[in-house]
Symmetry: D3
Subunit: 312 residues, 6 copies
């Protein structure tokens, strides 16, 4: 059965769906209704539930799973689900949240295995030990968290997917520019976003935690590196270099890095992070666009639309 986000207007719906968001509303005539954002692995869709009361608000809450019958229709140019039947799912139906959230295409175990292959190439013992320590402490979260709440790699295991993709790009670039220190670059790529496992709430219905809002994943990880070095009784320039790699990876102060990159590996980490995030967005947006047309506007790419050529 096709995913909910790939159905065309007019197609029937009979799907298990996760309630991503549930909001109450009142029509201009004063009648209560609910707006549900429903999702499966393919994406999400909006639906309205009319003439709702308190019992509906209890039954249909965020992060609940429902079985929905209905039809796709067009509302102001966007697909919407017209609900004909809806009911909460029973425990014995064997449907769980992870079946209904988008996730990396490659299984997370395989991605982690790939990450470890790069990790094993790190030769400097201080860099290697600090990196391993932090990876171990956060292994579960690193394997399941998204890299962001939206825009790029915003799905389960998105963080890991992003890091592995960056490592591949990092190796290709370091092979071309041999003055780059691979130890620093690989460790920087692995560690740079792990602070997100504290900054974000988790793989489902992802939001920012209070600590995430107040400190940010950069400062969280800079602190973690210092603590790891203390625990492992490591001193020396490596600690500061790794902190700087993480600290500066947003590239500019106005993008949240308290220092601009001052290592060539830090400069490159910033480029690699940027390229991988942008390519993830572009590939997704162009995948939804027919040749000869422009994509929707992509906010993090200066709100640009991209053209999909008609040539092969």
């Amino acid at each position: 059965m096709n995913g909910i986000a790939s159905l065309q207007v007019g197609e029937p719906v009979d799907h298990y769906l996760l309630i991503k968001q549930a909001t109450k509303g009142v029509t201009t005539m004063g009648k209560p209704f609910m707006t549900l954002i429903l999702q499966d692995k393919s994406g999400s869709i909006e639906a309205k539930l009319w003439d709702t009361g308190e019992e509906h608000e209890k039954l249909y809450q965020s992060e609940g799973i429902v079985r929905v019958g209905g039809e796709i229709h067009d509302y102001r140019g966007k697909a919407q689900l017209r609900i004909k039947a809806i009911r909460p799912v029973a425990n014995d139906e064997g449907v769980s949240v992870v079946d209904l959230v988008p996730s990396a295409e490659t299984p997370k175990e395989e991605l982690y295995e790939q990450l470890m292959q790069f990790f094993f190439e790190i030769k400097n013992p201080q860099i290697s030990r600090i990196t391993r320590h932090i990876l171990k402490e956060n292994q579960d979260e690193v394997m399941t968290f998204p890299a962001a709440t939206k825009n790029h790699h915003d799905y389960a295991s998105g963080l890991l997917d992003h890091v592995v993709s960056m490592l591949k790009l990092g190796r290709a670039i370091a092979d071309l520019y041999p003055t780059l220190n691979k130890d620093l670059l690989y460790a920087g790529i692995i560690l740079h976003d792990i602070g997100k496992v504290v900054e974000l709430s988790g793989p489902v219905a992802t939001s920012y935690t209070v600590t995430g809002n107040m400190l940010g994943h950069i400062s969280i990880m800079v602190t973690e590196i210092a603590k790891a070095a203390d625990t492992l009784q490591i001193e020396g320039e490596e600690v500061m270099l790794l902190q700087h790699m993480v600290l500066s990876h947003h590239g500019k102060e106005e993008w949240g890095s308290p220092k601009k990159p001052m290592l060539q590996e830090a400069e490159m980490l910033h480029y690699i992070d940027n390229i991988d995030a942008k390519m993830n967005m572009l590939t997704r947006a162009l995948g939804k666009t027919v040749p000869g047309e422009f994509t929707e506007r992509l906010f993090p790419l200066d709100n640009r639309s991209f053209y999909k050529p008609t040539i092969d």
Copy 2:
């Protein structure tokens, strides 16, 4: 005897002076010479040493102390010292570096005592313990370091002077706006710049350390707070709140804070820091200006000149 920076053109010089900076040069005709920046507590002055050789370069190095005879003359509108006699000072002459660097007007012991009075007002035990721990670990440096390499509070014990002045202002403001949490505000003021004891090299000939350049005093102190909390086995919101106070005190990302203030006390800390730094610069600049004239341009104040009125 008047300080070197307060002498008028034509006045004789016979002073102990500290070499702040020593640079070699060659005249347009190819003759070698040295430019010395010499200082005592009153400030600094430039001097030239003509026809110098290797032996002079060894004798007269940065941070050495010399006895100089000569006269003040005018060079392109600026006072310069014309050296008639110069010799390195012997150890038994009893002149030490601290006698020749500018420092806070109030003795550092007295300033520290004032700081502790404010500290004792902090009631929240977690905030108090973390603050005390960090103060203790860095007491010597906190008592002697400047707050900056130039512009404001750029003298021995300038950091302490700045903090005490900010605490006084903080108390006055918290009395007027009672929703402010004094514990957070005082601890934030005390801790906000202590990272400078790692960022800067020390009270004499102050420069940035490599770690200072690469991490910055903000990230250094955010890390220190986390470590202190670990050592003291303190958990809870206070740790994060103190980290945020320090993290955000520059007020904006482009000024080096990875997060803007999101606590009213953090917002106020930023204002207080700004006011005390600016008033320190303005008071100094206006002190050197006669009524009816403008000060020199002050770079950190948008390069403005300020007018000194002729009215009482």
Copy 3:
């Protein structure tokens, strides 16, 4: 009886309310209705009046007073008043507009008395005379006008409330930085926003006047100072200094000051104005927020949300 803005969803309403704004509308089905913004001292709330005609539009106009019965309900997460009964208020019911607009907590007479205490501390006769002249000419408006149409001190006597609060802060700061000239600072604080009595329309349903839009309160007051000096036959630097204090109090050209501050007192006036405005907004926003949550976004504070800690 609780004010309209402090009622919870479900609570009944039987209040005298002022119509702050009345707008006509048509439902998507073509039926006419009216949207009323109704207020009392506690704040304002939105209400809909369905199936309205010309007679309703005449009865329920902006600045009219009504007696409303109904109930608070929730509309898209915001409280709304569901009107069950509404009628215009008769003259003999003894309700007047001033009973229904928010105003400073301290009575305006008391605030004015406090302002005068500061005024009497001004020693320079020229500064004192100009300030008194302008205060006298505008006393009624100074006592009743808000300081702004929204954001901060946007209530009756808000201008006076703001000025008195700034004077208190000004005294505390001038005590700590004794090079500040108190005469200039106090007069600057008193005069800086009086141009708003021309710029704004008045304490109720405040909007910008044409002259306010075209000239702005800064230029209006700079002109008034010159006229006052002419009338009082005062010459000398004080006139220019006061004009500069007012001229520069927005701190930067892009914020509407044709000159940046070039007096230390003008620089300080800008800081004090900023702190008092921001604290007014923050106190209000945090007052509506529960501990552990963030405030709504505050546009004039860079659109930030502020966190309300859970510690005491």
Copy 4:
């Protein structure tokens, strides 16, 4: 005899010259000398006077007139005057400062006459009376002041030259866009820069006055219009409109206008002012450039160089 600024390297000098600036210096070997900026109507040139003493400093001060013999030579690519003989000019030699400062090509009386022709076209009596009043009060200064200290119309009667040129342009444009109110536009052009007669020190060795620095010509003139209206007992929109024309003529807050233009005539005044200033600079710079080359960089034109084509 050719003016000093048009002589080539190697040509002899025997000229009356005005000392625009006189500064003392010391050679790297400690010998005193003076740097003189000398000018006549054609422009200015630098000269050195070697081995000078106190008597020279008294004889050759800024704004003094001298008779100089010597030769033009090249110093680092710029023409310099090598002085062979110099003496102060006696009163009976009949040379006065006005003979030696650059000025508008058209005599100032003729320019003023042209201005008045435009003035007489103003029909609105309020606008006409206010404009005439201010013109009369400042007639001498309007006829002699420059429009700026540098960049454009920075010569005696430059202000008047600029205003007349703008009036011509204003008429041409108003003829093409008939919705423009000529009364407002002409009066705006005439008044917009008259505040410069207070802001600047005068036609020779022009600098900013203290009042000019602190208030700026815009606020000075806005105040003058209000005073003129008071004196003439004129009320009504015209006063505010004229104030707005002057207030907004820099076009943007960051360029010193406390309000952006909100009248189409004010918008046009800003364009006309800009065009006339830029054309004055461009014509001058291109006049000094040979075809096929670029002009020097012009700072107020975004530091651009302009190309002078080789075609007719």
Copy 5:
């Protein structure tokens, strides 16, 4: 009969109208409807068609012509057309699209004739030949295209109207500043926007073409000039100068010119383009505003509102 955009609320409608835009919608209750933007020469108005089906969607498509009966009513402060009767127009009713789109007031033939008068003043043969070649190749489009999709000269023959108006302004300015080369200026004005005949889709329901989006009218025309010169076998500086005129006419890189103006004629072309576009917008906006009021906000004029004075 008055145009659709000039009717008042309550007035009856019985007009031929062009469907500028047709969009489907669904009411909050799930009923389908259509929103039509209908226009004639006077402007456009919104209308709703309720309970529509597939047959309506076919009958009433963008660029179709309809006969509509109904009435003007007020919807949220904006005029809306309440449709009582609507039908597609038959071919034999003699109504064509050009009768229903706004266009320049002067007939396009007359405007073109005026343009040619200016063209004939160009003396330089190279400039003249290139300009004539491009004009000829694009004559039909130049005569009918708008200058933009919105904001200014956004009507049939708007491009030509804009160019002729600019030529008149150009002549007036070149007469006042005689160093300007009229050949370059006139040719630059004529050519600067012709690239729009490729960038835009045409005079009706104007949108951007794919090529327009990807290359822009500036690069399109720079290329055309090079091709014309090749075809005409013209070499020499004129080609490059004309390319530069077109290239730089947006004035700044951030406004889409890859080079800033480096010819005084290019600088002036930018000013003239700007003035004519802004005056077109201002005249239109003020025409719809009553004296004593402000216009709507004008986005391309920094989102300002302009005041319409009450004086004559």
Copy 6:
């Protein structure tokens, strides 16, 4: 023999050198001298020639070759060449300019061969034909020109070196992100900077041509692509796509691209260009820096200094 730029202070000089720049000067005492910038493949050094006359100015002009004897000494912290003997080189000494200018490490023939390997991978016949046509027309210049006058790849064959390095990076990236069209990406990389062969003057003493200044290499190449397509009678989207690749490769309007990238390949071209330019600068700067120190400030990298770690 070591290159001139790698000699230490005190080492003797007996080298053939190219005069990169020759400027006349006068000492403060009025004596004429010349400043020569002399270079060989290793870099350049400054030298002074004292007491020079017209005959020296003729003998020692820019782009001449000289034989120089002397010694390296230190002038204000920079190496300078003290000339003891100098003479112009005779034709029969067999020294030519190309022996004395820095150039790519790999021979240009080999680089071109590598470029062609990538070229042959282009499958789309339109893209391939246009690219080959332009390459052929400019082959000599493409093989010898630098990519810039300074900062990166600013040596003979620097353009080719840059392009080949970008092609390698492009292949590595396209292998990782398979949605990228390799034909477009390779052709874009090959063509993007070929306009520099018109924009710049050549491989020696490189400067901007007039056409380069006025049009820029982007517009020059966009035009060339159109002409090539005309010549080859190619129509279709490929022409526009290639033009867009070149047009947008600076990434933003303010960096000289009239359109931002709207193809994913164009976005990637911009990243690749940036990375290769930055790595070229960083590698060079770090090569001159000892571990534990910072590089000089690098202007195109936001004026940052980069740290060279002490770890392996």
